[in-house]
């Protein structure tokens, strides 16, 4: 069941210690209708971004080092803008820090007016119960024109849904019951970020070993070193 504006506002009034409490902060509006719809709340674009970096490898491998190798952090203060070139992607975050109740899931959708400029804001839009943090937004400009993004402007909408009640899971020690729903503890990897977060991966060998796959083929990172005539690849290790 999608939460109505009234229910969203009711949950926001509850004490933060209450499991049903919803946090969205800061909420900046002159008029409630500026950001609330009957079934959603609009969120603003934050001031920090991760822009893709030119890699020193001919490809990107999602492994342990990806958090630092893929992006460069940029701060764009309110009042300035960021240009997203055509067919480029960046990571941004919402200005608002949110905390979902234990019985509510959320979904992030591009605001329709923004979508019509061919800016796509989310490709992994689902938010689990108890998530807290500024939401990382995968922003893609799929148009043929560079587009300006202004931090502080409304960019996406948050839709909240109550999850169906379940019985506590006796096999999962991390599970907690809050009366009519069962929740797991929030993801420790992405807990409470206030800036866009780079992805966190295990190495593929470790990941696949968990399902019994061994001998995963790896690749050798190309190490480059300067020479008098320019950059050269290092000799492969024996």
């Amino acid at each position: 069941m999608v939460l109505s504006k009234k229910e969203i506002l009711r949950r926001m009034q509850l004490a933060v210690s209450d499991d049903s409490n919803l946090v969205i902060t800061p909420l900046i509006y002159a008029n409630e209708n500026d950001i609330f719809d009957s079934d959603s709340v609009d969120l603003r674009l934050g001031c920090h971004f991760l822009l893709p970096k030119t890699l020193d490898q001919p490809f990107f491998s999602p492994d342990r080092s990806s958090a630092t190798s893929l992006h460069v952090r940029v701060h764009v203060p309110l009042g300035q803008f960021l240009v997203v070139p055509a067919h480029q992607t960046i990571l941004g975050a919402t200005l608002e820090f949110i905390r979902l109740p234990s019985d509510v899931s959320g979904q992030i959708l591009t605001k329709s007016s923004v979508a019509r400029t061919f800016i796509v804001v989310e490709t992994a839009p689902w938010i689990h119960p108890q998530y807290r943090g500024c939401l990382t937004l995968e922003i893609a400009n799929v148009s043929n024109t560079p587009v300006l993004l202004y931090p502080g402007r409304l960019i996406c909408q948050l839709i909240l849904m109550r999850i169906a009640p379940m019985q506590p899971d006796s096999n999962n020690p991390d599970s907690q019951s809050n009366g009519d729903s069962t929740t797991t503890k929030p993801d420790k990897n992405y807990f409470g970020p206030v800036y866009p977060e780079a992805p966190k991966f295990e190495d593929p060998q470790d990941d696949l070993l968990r399902i019994g796959v061994t001998g995963v083929s790896g690749f050798k990172r190309i190490k480059r070193y300067p020479t008098k005539k320019g950059w050269r690849e290092s000799k492969p290790e024996p």
Binding site: A15, L27, I28, V74, H75, V76, P77, P186, Y195
Partner: protein, 470 residues
Amino acid sequence: MPDGLRDLLHDAAVLHSFVDFIGEYCKEQERSQTYIDASGLFFKYVEELTAGIKLELRNEVDRAARFPNRLPVLRRNMLTLKYYLRLLHTLIKPAADAHTLTIPGPLIDLAGKQLRGVKGMSSSKIVILLTPEFMYFQRPHTHVKEQARLVETFVPQATFPPKLGFIELPYSQGPSFFTNLAVYHEIGHFVYEELSSLNPPYPDFVALRSATTGSLSRIFRDRQVLALAVKIVQNWTQEIFCDLFAIRLLGPAFSFALVEILSMLGFLSSKLSVKFNPTHPASACRFAEHVNMLTADSWMEAIKDIKSEQKKLLEAFAMIPRSRYNFYLDDTTRGPQALVNAFLDSVIPAIRKLVHELTPESNFAVRRFGRVRHDIEECLKVGVVPIMQHSNSPDPVSLINSAFCFYLTSLPEVITNFEGPGADRDVDIYSKWTRRLEMWTMKAIEDSQIQDRYRRLKRTVSWSFQKKKS
């Protein structure tokens, strides 16, 4: 070509390349990074100055070709320029390093705003520099400004921004929050330097100076010794002034931050803590003054339930009897104890009076802290940025103090709650959560600044709307 002109031309060309690089460097930095307002203002000044210097260099060489008797004047001007550029050179790179990703921007904005609320400092701005030294430092700016004024006489295109201060942060502490609260002490140095050199002088600074010279001239008859004693006591005076100034603006969070920093620097050993040296008073003396001020402002009452090591340490240092204070001129040579006594008896009361005179009353801040602390701690306990809603948003000073109190007392509880039993004993995890807490506090301050800006705008809009209507 007249004698000496070729040399002048050569010198001018070298200087031209030098300033050209500096100007381009500032432009490039501004293009690639975001800076706080004060740094932007400083870079703009440097860009205007370098453009002005290049223009003047061309004109000077022309003038020298036409009027060879002006050569000595032009040479003198070039020397002044070179000296001034050497001074600026040391400021530009550290300022360029201090962009908004490497410094705690919201904290610096807040400190700047509070600074402008101090009597006589209404248009002041602070440029942050990142330094390789592990210390916080206010770069004395009076000399830079004097040189800038001298340069303005023959490069009129650029005027040094009035009331611009320079404060260094250690680069390793750049993005952290709690230790950087020490920046308030350095802002105190900036205020002291600005206001103590006013003409006509500020009455309370005159009183402070009289207290210093009056008390010392009774002890030291020899003029040279007296001058040295006055210099040393002035150093101590500034340090105590800056501590009390920071406490008035920030409350106990500053004292806690100072304990952390001095402890990191290894200055809190029992032997060192009672030792005055020619530049700094003993830590025990400083903390005794902290506790006095915090008690007088009712902060101690407001945080009486805090049971942290830092608070105990603060109180323990404050309890050390003054008879144990000693003064060393260097590592081995003991200085006259009478100097310490004169400082404690005659100068410190004048410092307290001066700080009270300059800074806003703190009663409101303490009351606000008492009102919102519980709510802020409740948010942090569940891993949420303290909430900023339309009404009843916590103010930044309450936020900082509540978050610091929380950091000192409740962090292990939160770690255990989210990471499981025993996790609070893992250094990696503890450090990660400290960082999170700092980020949440900084985010809340940023949010409160956004709300504040919005409220001000709303007031202006509604005021102009009413005016239009009437």
